[in-house]
C-alpha cells in the first residue's frame, strides 16, 4: 500500500476514465435526460448539450421545473455563452419567480450581458412590482454599460419606492461621479427624514467632496 507508481515514468500518461456509454446519446435523448429523476444524469445532460443548437431553449424550459441547486447552477452556466434577445426575455421573466435561485441566476446572467440587458432596462424600470425594480437595479449595479450611471440617476430621481431608490443609491456609492452630486439634494428632499437614504447620500457626498 502507498502511493501508486505510474507504469512508465517517461511517458505522458493521460489519466482518463472514459465514460463507457452503451450508446451515443443524441440531442433528443439528452433533452429527455434533463428530466431524469437522477440529478447527476441531469447535470451531465446539461454539459453534453452545451453548444448544441436549440440547447438554450431546452435549458430555459427546464429551469422552472428544476429543484436541485447544482443542476440549476449548471443550467445558468450553460446559458451564459451566446445569449440571444429571446433568451434575455425569458430570463427577465424569471425575475418574478418565487424561487430565489432562479431570480439570482437571471440577475447574474443579465449582469454579464450588458447590451441584451439594455434592450430591456426601460421596461424593467417601470415594472409594477418594486421588488422587480430592485432586481433591475441589482443588475445595473454590476453591469458594464456606459448608461448605467444615468439609469441609476433616473431611478433615484423618479422611482416612488424607498427601497428601490435606496438600492440605486447603494450602487451609486460605487460608481457616482460629479454629475451625481447635482441630484443628491433632490433625492434627499423626496424622502425627508429617511435614515438609510440620508446615510448613503451623506456617504456619497463625502466621497465626491474629496475630489
Amino acid at each position: 500500500m502507498g502511493l501508486k507508481k505510474k507504469s512508465n515514468a517517461s511517458d505522458d500518461i493521460v489519466i482518463q476514465q472514459e465514460e463507457k456509454r452503451s450508446a451515443q446519446r443524441t440531442p433528443q435523448q439528452l433533452v429527455a435526460d434533463l428530466a431524469s429523476p437522477d440529478s447527476s444524469v441531469r447535470r451531465w445532460a446539461v454539459r453534453d448539450l452545451s453548444g448544441e443548437e436549440n440547447a438554450h431553449k431546452a435549458f430555459l424550459a427546464r429551469l422552472p421545473a428544476e429543484n436541485d441547486p447544482t443542476v440549476i447552477e449548471a443550467l445558468f452556466s450553460a446559458l451564459e455563452h451566446n445569449m440571444t434577445d429571446a433568451d434575455a426575455s425569458q430570463l427577465i421573466g424569471m425575475l418574478k419567480s418565487e424561487q430565489v435561485q432562479l431570480r439570482n441566476g437571471a440577475i447574474e446572467l443579465m449582469q454579464q450581458n450588458p447590451d441584451l440587458f439594455a434592450h430591456n432596462v426601460h421596461k424593467l424600470m417601470q415594472d409594477d412590482d418594486p421588488d422587480t425594480r430592485i432586481f433591475c437595479v441589482d443588475i445595473i449595479g454590476a453591469v458594464a454599460h456606459p448608461d448605467a450611471l444615468s439609469w441609476l440617476h433616473h431611478i433615484a430621481l423618479n422611482d416612488d419606492n424607498e427601497n428601490v431608490v435606496g438600492t440605486a443609491l447603494d450602487k451609486l456609492a460605487e460608481v457616482s461621479d460629479c454629475s451625481t452630486y447635482d441630484i443628491l439634494q433632490t433625492v434627499e428632499s423626496r424622502f425627508p427624514n429617511h435614515a438609510y437614504i440620508s446615510f448613503v447620500i451623506s456617504l456619497i457626498r463625502n466621497q465626491l467632496g474629496s475630489a
Binding site: P69, V100, Q101, R103, N104, I107, E108, P130, D131, I134, F135, D138, E162, N163, G166, T167, L169, D170, A173, E174, H194, A195, Y196, I197, F199, V200, L203
Partner: protein, 122 residues
C-alpha cells in the same frame, strides 16, 4: 464581547446596520453572501446573524437552513431582513429557521431594541 454577523450584498446597508448595532461590547463581522458568511462563521463564535434575503450565490433562506444544520451554529439567533413584506415571506423565513423577520427599510429603533433584547443590553 458579543459578535454580530451582518450578511448583505449591499455594502452601504452593511455599513448602516453596523452603525446601528455597534457598541463597545460588540464586534461586527460582515459577509457579502451566504457562502462567505459560512466561511467566516463556521468554527467561530457568533452571537447573532442579521441576514438579508436576496443575495447572490447563496440567499438568506438557504443560509438560514445551513446555519440550522451546523452543529456549532444551530442555536445562534437569526434576524432576517427583507424588502418583501408579504406574510408568506415571513412564514418562509421562520420555516427556514429565522427567529425574527424585519422588512426594509428597518426602523432604526426597532432594530436596536431587537438586537439588544437578543444580546442582552447595549
Amino acid at each position: 464581547m458579543k459578535t454580530v454577523m451582518i450578511v448583505d450584498d449591499a455594502s452601504t446597508v452593511r455599513m448602516f446596520h453596523k452603525m446601528l448595532v455597534s457598541s463597545d461590547d460588540r464586534v461586527v463581522e460582515e459577509a457579502e453572501n451566504g457562502v462567505e458568511a459560512l466561511e467566516k462563521a463556521i468554527g467561530t463564535h457568533i452571537d447573532l446573524f442579521l441576514v438579508d434575503v436576496n443575495m447572490p450565490k447563496m440567499d438568506g433562506y438557504r443560509l438560514c437552513k445551513e446555519i440550522r444544520q451546523n452543529e456549532l451554529l444551530r442555536a445562534v439567533p437569526i434576524i432576517m431582513i427583507s424588502t418583501e413584506s408579504a406574510t408568506q415571506d415571513a412564514q418562509r423565513a421562520y420555516q427556514c429557521g429565522a427567529n425574527f423577520y424585519m422588512t426594509k427599510p428597518v426602523n432604526a429603533d426597532s432594530l436596536k431594541s431587537v438586537v439588544s433584547a437578543v444580546l442582552g443590553g447595549s
